[in-house]
């Protein structure tokens, strides 16, 4: 049964890509096009994904999130996509694998292994904390209500939500696992864009190396399979970059329009995508300054603004601040200060010496960058080596300059490895060029390039297999979903208790993060105390309970501030549920046993 379900999910995931291609082909049928057949195909897939995200967003605000409405559109687009892909396959040149070198076949095989690893990890029930808190939890709320609404307890839900819309599409199509496939599919499209672009600028070897550097790493396995949004950033930036390059090399103005669409798409995935889009545009302006004129600038800027606009307009209408909760603020004082402290808590510091030590720390001690230890070292080691290519040095200097500016912004804002994703596609191509340039230079260079690349890919494969191994029992049916969630989700015992004992009628206020699996209506006090600050007194606490029509409260016994606030209410303790936090899913590390305290209000 588990196997049949898994295969059905995989089949629907493949059909989802066809649906993206179908809708993209429909929209670009009479619109902008490029003469590069691979880029044209990927443009259609990318535009289709963007269109589905924006359609879902629009349908959500119109209160039209119904399976009966979504499935026919999905099916029609998938049929069109099947026809389009069939035509493309008939005209595309077949790869002559027998002419490939052994190491090239090995890299292709490695990428195939990673696709399997990623598919297995995605098929497991959603268990990453951020997905449980909002990436998956919010789309689940929208599907249940058939409408999109503001979620004031989590400021992250005001970020542009394009990838979450595609996750929502998966929920509409079938279930949580189907939704979780959206980021993986985007990562695969990004892989195709990275390899395709590298192939165009430097041939097959560069394509395979760039693809392996980008995709064959535990960091990407984690990103693509945890219902995160960053793969959406990668694909948008990769396609925008490739189209910009196309404009620079072939002067196809349509490529500029498409680049604008994808730059807007990046800005519609998360605020960090807006930063990436602006830096990409500035880098491109330097790159082809001789081609730059008023019309070219507008050809890029107008589609970018049109595609990104709905997300910022929504925030402006809902909160009065298009960049809520950043730039113009809007959070209460303590929440704003906690959000700022949290975003600045990653990494080692923001001093110039920390910037100078950044490459060394990313290689040797990257854990404080939140998952940075799983990032492939090949980006940092080999991307600068690309400067060995003397005849392309000017181009590479400009691109490295753009990457450096992005890194600088990343360094001064929030040093989370995940937000490096927008530069990973271009860093992968640079690193592939660096490896090939070093190998071509002399015997020592060749030995080093081969040894270091092989070593890093093998270490990455080992780490990825260790990570994916934890998902195999539940995917094969050897472990039950509940048992898996007990082991991987913090305080899941508490969630199960609430579902079992409170049913679906009460309205719960809670401070636990595993919101995706709660069956009853809920609010939280706010991820940073957005709705009820930690230091709020009796009056504000009672107002919070009345305003949100709270009937029950579930808080962890270590949350002293919330326990104090429960004391301001006419609350009766009805249960002390033993729970434990998960400190490492992969290593199976748990925190000490503690309690979730459940109170009935007014009883």
């Amino acid at each position: 049964m588990a196997l049949a379900d898994g295969l059905a999910h995989l089949a629907l995931a493949a059909i989802t890509v066809l649906a993206w291609l179908g809708l993209g082909s429909l929209l670009l049928g009479r619109g902008p096009t490029v003469s590069d057949s691979v880029l044209h195909l990927l443009n259609r897939v990318g535009v289709g994904a963007l269109a589905f995200a924006l359609l879902t967003f629009g349908a959500g605000w119109a209160g039209l999130l119904y399976r009966v409405g979504y499935v026919p559109i999905f099916a029609g687009a998938a049929i069109l996509g099947t026809v389009e892909s069939g035509m493309w396959l008939r005209s595309a040149a077949r790869p002559q694998l027998r002419h490939w070198a052994t190491w090239q076949l090995a890299l292709l095989g490695l990428l195939a292994v990673y696709v399997v690893i990623d598919a297995v990890a995605t098929l497991a029930p959603i268990s990453s904390p951020d997905a449980l808190l909002y990436h998956a939890a919010d789309p689940a709320l929208f599907v249940k209500a058939h409408t999109i609404f503001a979620i004031p307890w989590n400021s992250s839900s005001y970020e542009p939500f394009s990838v979450e819309m595609l996750v929502l599409d998966g929920f509409l199509l079938w279930d949580h696992a189907q939704g979780a496939f959206a980021p993986l599919l985007l990562a695969l499209v990004a892989l195709a864009a990275v390899s395709g672009f590298a192939y165009r600028v430097a041939g097959r070897s560069a394509a395979l190396l760039a693809g392996a550097i980008f995709f064959a790493q535990p960091f990407m396995v984690w990103e693509a399979t945890s219902t995160f949004i960053e793969p959406g950033l990668a694909v948008a930036v990769a396609l925008a970059g490739w189209n910009l390059y196309r404009f620079a090399s072939e002067q196809e103005r349509d490529a500029l329009v498409l680049a604008g669409i994808f730059a807007g798409g990046a800005a519609g995935v998360k605020y960090v995508g807006l930063i990436a889009a602006v830096i990409l545009a500035a880098t491109a302006a330097v790159f082809f300054r001789r081609l730059l004129n008023y019309r070219a600038a507008l050809s890029f800027a107008i589609p970018a603004i049109v595609v990104a606009f709905p997300w910022y307009l929504k925030n402006a209408l809902v909160t009065g601040n298009p960049f809520y909760p950043f730039i113009f603020g809007g959070l209460n004082r303590s929440a704003a200060s906690e959000l700022s402290a949290t975003t600045r808590s990653f990494g080692y510091g923001h001093a110039p010496v920390d910037l100078a030590l950044l490459p060394a720390r990313l290689l040797a001690a990257a854990t404080p960058f939140d998952g940075g230890q799983y990032l492939s070292p090949l980006f940092v080691i080999f991307a600068p080596v690309g400067l060995l290519l003397r005849h392309a040095r000017r181009v590479i200097e400009i691109v490295v300059g753009g990457v450096f500016v992005y890194l600088l912004v990343w360094f001064v804002t929030t040093q989370q490895a995940r937000f490096l994703m927008p530069v990973l596609p271009v860093a992968a191509v640079l690193a592939a060029l660096g490896i090939l340039a070093l190998a071509a230079e002399a015997r020592l260079g060749r030995v080093l390039a081969v040894t270091v690349t092989t070593g890093a890919l093998l270490v990455s494969l080992g780490a990825s297999l260790v990570y994916a191994k934890q998902f195999v029992p539940v995917v094969t049916g050897a472990e039950s979903h509940d048992q898996f969630l007990y082991e991987k989700v913090s305080n899941f015992e508490g969630v199960q208790w609430l579902n079992r004992n409170l049913g679906t009628r009460p309205r719960l206020a809670t401070d636990i993060w595993a919101l995706l699996y709660l069956r009853m209506p809920y609010v939280t006090f706010g991820t940073q105390g957005d709705l009820l600050p930690d230091d709020a007194g009796p009056k504000a606490t009672r107002a919070f309970v009345v305003h949100n029509r709270i009937t029950d409260v579930a808080v962890l016994d270590g949350d002293v501030a919330r326990r104090r606030q429960v004391g301001y209410l006419p609350a009766r303790l009805i249960a002390r549920v033993p729970v434990r936090s998960v400190q490492s899913r992969t290593r199976g590390h748990f925190g000490p046993l503690h309690y979730m305290l459940v109170y009935a209000i007014g009883g």
Partner: protein
Amino acid sequence: MNLLRAKTPPPTSRTEAARIKHHRPQPSLSGRDRTKLRVRRVYLLAVVWVCVGSALYAIEVLKLVRGLG
């Protein structure tokens, strides 16, 4: 366009080359030698960086392996 392949430099006429040679003081190293030297330096720098980077990453790998244990 293939970034891995160098473009052929534009041909310089013999008279132009002779003129340049005539008017320029003879350097101890020719332009070509200096380019070669610069290339060599960049290459050695790249080799050193790759070695240092790999050694640094080896520290991270050791920590990951220990963490698993």
